[in-house]
Amino acid sequence: AKQTWSLPSQSFHSRTEFGAEFRRFSLERSKPGKFEEFYGLLQHVHKIPNVDVLVGYADIHGDLLPINNDDNYHKAVSTANPLLRIFIQKKEEADYSAFGTDTLIKKKNVLTNVLRPDNHRKKPHIVISLPQDFRPVSSIIDVDILPETHRRVRLYKYGTEKPLGFYIRDGSSVRVTPHGLEKVPGIFISRLVPGGLAQSTGLLAVNDEVLEVNGIEVSGKSLDQVTDMMIANSRNLIITVRPANQRNNVVRNSRTSGSSGQSTDNSLLGCPQQMEPSLEPEEEDSDDEDIVIEDNGVPQQIPRAVPNTESLESLTQIELNFESGQNGFLPSNEVSLAPVASGPSTEFETRAPDQKLLEEDGTIITL
């Protein structure tokens, strides 16, 4: 059920198949456009405007690879030689196992599997290879500016399916002060909820001392205050901790000072102030946008009155976007998608040295 067509070099042809249907059309190679447009084009060509589909292509090795963002779309276009074979599956019936780098080597008949999905369908398993579904749940940030004894962790909270899942308590830690070592009250992580977000990231552990919450030092604040600060920032929680277990620290040779002791913290005093500017804009724009329901009954995100730079729109908005019904009301939608897939795209880049050339040329989509 697959066929190849030879094409002139200026444009390439694409053959798509959706179920038993085949369509063939051509695209300008030098200007493939965006994935969204391509996706719309596919839906148009197959006359399936409202069906969610998974798009895949066969690369030069015969592997079935997904197309779901601009980067892998561009990669796919670059591999058209000159024909690009594209496979479309309905999302709900998709056989994710068909995708993979070595799929065609291991199982020669993977494509027939795709075409006749009910033949030997495998048990549905967890999808881990669709970059669009990737979403960050946590990250370590500011490693280059923080002292190596500290760790700044960002937790992303999506909806309410999975709890943040940790507890904090009062305690005391030893600090180096001008008057020598001093015992000062501190806030510590007391417990991780099994299966919670904090535990599953592996970045936080029991007895880690909490030093900052979203750029604000917790010293001098009560347990309840810190609790309230964390809850108020829970949609985009950035906490700076001094891990109880300091053995996993990466010793950076630039800073091989004696400060990496178990619980001394002489470097903290200067640091946060210096850090805050870098945090502040993040905190500002990754705001939890409130929702307004006008009399038409459609929930919408409340936009800013004063427009801000779009590029600062961040990830948490995607999730809100989903919550409010995927109406595409957020103008920054496409922009904000880009960073999500940035991880996988780098991988493609290494294999596609000619991609730059494609981007430089101007092309138009033709049917």
Partner: protein, 966 residues
């Protein structure tokens, strides 16, 4: 980045200067009745009164507005206080036997109370009277002699010490030990027993050398200080409680622990008197309680007054708090509702007068101060201009109304005057009149409304330093309550004797907790008012200058809106009385709206211009047109998962009971198992080992500290449907071209509902609007993603100022709002403040308080701050009280933090909950159940006591006359 820089480098010097001119934090005055009073004193020359408290506070009161407050360094109970007459000085004795001398000093024309000296008696080992010098163990009684230059201190050991008051030093050589006194006592009276502590010391009005000493055992001695000998001895045998020396010095009265008092004559020779002239037990013959204090006052008209506290028959009335006033044949037993602390009479103290001529009796009780007019027959009570017992029934809510129009003020005052029987013109006015109030007449009238547990709303004049009661509104008369019959039965059961007379207004017992007032709103232009209560009752009242008899229209609004699967397990609604009811002059109910289920009303607002009242409970909110007496709207705000709200408060009580029962069971179980273990020696050993093992690692105990879960609020938190605030505004909701009436509601889960209202407009000049139905259409719904409870909503006009109150602009009392520029709505949640544009909702400014400071918003209010430097410069700001007790001020609409002060201790939860802000940057909060602290955030608008006192104390001259003995 830019934003960040602005925030941090906000130290614009000009702005800082302006802030200093606008904002200043002061705690200015305490209104109400001092909590836990413990001592009382009166200066008959300056006519000022002092009250000491168990927390070591000293408060001096004179004429209304004359107030001084001092606080001892230690929070120890003030047990006794004595004015140095006419000197503006006060000697206080604390529970730790330390003595403190306070002085009223003038700075810049205003008087202040300051501690001048203190004296801690040297504590030596050993007992009084034993070998070695008698030590000053514990002071039981203090007497000022020689015009206040010397003080006699009676002690527990029976000695009397003398103290030089101007320097507060002990006069070592003059101590009078019990041994010295016993020498003059006949042997058969001595019989080896000690005299006991000194219970009473009394001075002679005309002869300062004589001191009357009373010992606990009953011995009374007139001691001549000059001759250092006993002038006269009275061999009493009853345990002494108190003494009073009649002004001529010829008669003494002693009161005793068995409820009797005795009258002794001092004129009978020099031999010891063994029998009193009269000894009587006024409430005998059955055993009586002690008479704690007795006063004897003679009158020109003949017939002396005997006034005493206690002495009630132990079995039948032992629990009563009574002061008996006896003159000739007239006996009145004043029956108070709280414990008697002390009492005094206002009478002549000039030595040359022959008679005391008591004018008034002031009784300090645990919860109030009562003054009786002793010159008018029937001894009526004198209304107090201050020291009002705010808590006569527990305060459940409070509200402040600023700038009350003079007309409404007069009507409320007149309604209040008709409520309390007005004293005859000949009657005594308030007898404590010392000092002069220097504060300017308040520029505007402020009204403080307090809602109480018994269904009353009290109106207080909060314009000045003295919080004066104006009027009391009771809503209980509208409802049938269970407790009414019980009251009348109790009345009938009471005998004619003793002749009890109920005095005072402190009544902590509520008939029915459902009557409790939760919210009060007053429209100061139309004199219409809404009072909403615990059982979901919403009353619309109107001020009437004449009594009337009319039926109240009753409607009910179902806030559940057919939501299924819920059953209300809480209290039932109050059943209103039907038919026409008589209403006295004052606020008379017109409409009763009953919320169903009858949960406590959590928010209420009134728009008198539109004749609309909006109310909310934990289930939803409703809108009612009280002109046409019909509901306009009801909306359920319950989340489907919220079962707690439905069941009502009683189910939680049940679970508490259950847990109590469980804990009892646990205790019993442990007892049983304890016995079993005792039977088995082997297991006993194991247990001991286990205990040792437990003790060996005590840090295990430390390792289970308080911990807090970090979990964001989800939509299905319980009580998410509670309506927290309601607001009416004339603004742009649907389009930018037309403004109109709107109603806003905010819930506990961060939802805001905005309705466009169709209110028929009144014909020009007409007060009432035409009889057409009001319609409400949901215009917008905002969901705050942080889901914190919405505590306040306000609409800002085109210039960023809050909209005026209804009628305020149309009656030229406020600047008309700018309806040209774009409006904005300020939504304050417990965590963040946000300003959104209208009608197209877009986020304008915000401040995330909790994310930055970790504190949560408890109260917010928009207030106008006037500048001290410039007459007509003022800014409208958002004042906010947090759960930590701090007050923050933010600019509006920029929401930039301006200043913050710590105001209330964060542990003082009731204080934080009771806080109310005024429109001009002041505030009140309860520091005790009976006292409001007034504070001021404004640099200009400060209400604090400014007063002076004419003091003529000899000062150094006194010290020269009585050189300190060494």
């Amino acid at each position: 980045m830019m934003k960040f820089r602005f925030r941090r480098q906000g130290a614009d010097p000009q702005r800082e200067k302006l802030k200093q001119e606008l904002f200043a934090f002061n705690k200015t005055v305490e209104h109400g009745f001092p909590n836990q009073p413990s001592a009382l004193a009166f200066d008959p020359e300056l006519r000022i009164m002092a009250i000491g408290t168990r927390s070591g506070a000293v408060k001096i009161y004179g004429a209304p507005g004359v107030e001084f407050t001092g606080l001892h360094r230690d929070t120890t109970t003030v047990t006794q206080m004595h004015f140095l007459p006419g000197q503006g000085r006060l000697l206080t004795l604390l529970d730790d036997s330390s003595l403190h001398l306070w002085e009223i000093l003038h700075h810049d024309g205003c008087a202040h109370l300051e501690e001048a000296l203190s004296f801690q008696p040297p504590s030596r080992p050993g007992f009084d009277g034993a070998s070695g010098p008698p030590s000053l163990t514990r002071v039981t009684v203090v007497l000022l002699v020689a015009a206040g230059d010397m003080a006699a201190l009676g002690t527990e050991g029976g000695s009397v010490f003398f103290l030089d008051v101007p320097t507060l030093t002990l006069l070592e050589g003059q101590t009078l030990g019990p041994d010295e006194v016993l020498r003059s006592v006949p042997d058969d009276y001595r019989c080896g027993k000690a005299l006991g502590p000194v219970e009473a010391l009394e001075g002679h009005l005309r002869d300062p050398t004589k001191i009357l000493i009373g010992y606990s055992r009953g011995l009374l001695v007139i001691w001549n200080q000059a001759a250092q000998c006993a002038d006269h001895i009275f061999l009493g045998n009853q345990q002494l409680e108190s003494l009073c020396w009649e002004r001529s010095g010829s008669t003494l009265v002693s009161s005793h622990s068995d409820g009797s008092y005795a009258i002794w004559s001092a004129d009978t020779g020099s031999s010891p008197t063994t029998q009193p002239m009269v000894a009587t037990t006024p409430y005998g013959p059955f055993p009586c309680k002690a008479i704690n204090k007795i006063l004897w006052r003679n009158c020109e008209s003949g017939g002396h007054f005997i006034i005493f506290s206690g002495g009630m028959p132990r079995a039948s009335y032992g629990d009563r708090h009574c002061v008996s006033v006896l003159q000739a044949e007239t006996l009145v037993t004043l029956d108070f509702t709280s414990r008697i602390i002390d009492f005094f009479t206002v009478h002549s103290t000039r030595p040359e007068d022959e008679f005391d001529q008591p004018q008034a009796l002031a009784v300090l009780l645990e919860e109030e101060l009562v003054v009786l007019d002793l010159q008018t027959p029937g001894w009526p009570a004198v209304p107090a201009p201050y020291l009002a017992p705010l808590h006569s029934s527990a305060i459940t809510c409070s509200a402040h109304v600023a700038n009350v129009p003079a007309k409404l003020w007069a009507r409320i005052v007149s309604a209040g005057e008709q409520q309390s029987p007005q004293p005859a013109s000949t009657a005594l006015s308030w007898p404590i009149t010392g000092g002069r109030n220097l504060a300017q007449e308040p520029s505007q009238r402020g009204l403080l409304l307090t809602g109480h547990e018994d269904g009353t709303v009290r109106f207080w004049d909060a314009s000045g330093v003295a919080l004066r009661p104006l009027y009391k509104l009771s809503t209980a008369g509208l409802f049938q309550t269970d407790c009414e019959h019980a009251d009348s039965l109790a009345q009938a059961a009471e005998d004619d004797w003793p002749p009890f007379r109920k005095v005072g207004c402190f009544d902590p017992y509520s008939d029915d907790p459902r009557l409790g007032v939760q919210k009060v709103v007053l429209c100061k232009y139309t004199a219409q008012m809404v009072v909403a209560g615990t059982a979901g009752q919403v009353l619309v009242l109107e001020l009437s200058d004449v009594p009337s008899e009319q039926a109240v229209s009753v409607s009910s609004v179902d806030l559940l809106q057919d939501r299924e699967g819920f059953t209300w397990k809480g209290h039932e609604r109050l059943s209103p009385r039907t038919g026409p009811l008589p209403w006295p002059t004052g606020f008379q109910p017109r409409v009763l709206v009953q919320c169903l289920p009858p949960a406590a009303v959590t928010a209420v607002t009134l728009h008198a211009e539109w004749s609309l009242v909006a109310f909310g409970t934990s289930h939803g909110f409703g809108l009612f047109d009280y002109q046409r007496k019909c509901p306009v709207l009801a909306r359920c705000t319950l989340h489907p998962n919220d079962s707690l709200a439905m069941e009502g408060p009683l189910s939680r009580v049940k679970s508490l009971k259950k847990s109590l029962r469980q804990s009892f069971r646990r205790i019993r179980k442990s007892r049983v198992s304890g016995k079993k273990r005792a039977a088995n020696a082997n297991s006993k050993l194991q247990e001991a080992n286990a205990q040792l093992a437990e003790q060996a690692c005590p840090h295990d105990v430390e390792m289970t500290p308080v911990q807090r879960r970090i979990e964001p609020r989800s939509a299905d938190d319980s009580l998410s449907g509670v309506v927290r605030c309601l607001y009416f505004a004339d603004t742009f909701l649907r389009d930018a071209a037309h403004h109109g009436p709107t109603m806003w509601a905010g819930t506990n889960s961060g939802s805001v509902f905005a309705y466009a209202l169709e209110v028929p407009t009144a014909v020009a000049g007409g007060e009432k609007r035409p009889e057409r139905a009001v319609e409400a259409v949901l215009g917008k719904e905002v969901q705050l993603m942080h889901r914190a409870p919405v505590v306040a909503i306000a609409v800002l006009d085109g210039r960023g100022r809050p909209l005026p109150e209804p009628y305020e602009a149309s009656r030229d009392l406020a600047q008309a709002p700018d309806m040209q520029g774009g409006h904005a709505v300020l939504i304050a949640s417990e965590e963040q403040f946000k300003v959104f544009t209208l009608p197209k909702v877009s986020a304008k400014t915000k401040f995330k308080l909790t994310a930055h400071e970790g504190c949560r918003v408890r109260k917010v209010a928009l207030a106008t701050f006037a500048s001290v430097a410039c007459e007509d410069y003022a800014e409208t700001c958002l004042a906010c009280l947090t759960n930590l007790g701090d007050v923050h001020v933010f600019s509006v609409p920029g929401l930039r933090p301006q200043v913050h002060y710590s105001c209330i201790r964060k542990e003082d939860i009731s204080g934080i909950a009771s806080c109310v802000f005024t429109r001009h940057g002041q505030g009140f909060y309860l520091i005790s159940p009976s006292e409001f602290e007034r504070f001021s955030l404004s640099a200009r608008n400060i209400t604090e006591p400014l007063c002076s006192l004419d003091i003529s104390w000899p000062g150094d001259a006194a010290r020269a006359r009585y050189p300190t003995a060494t």
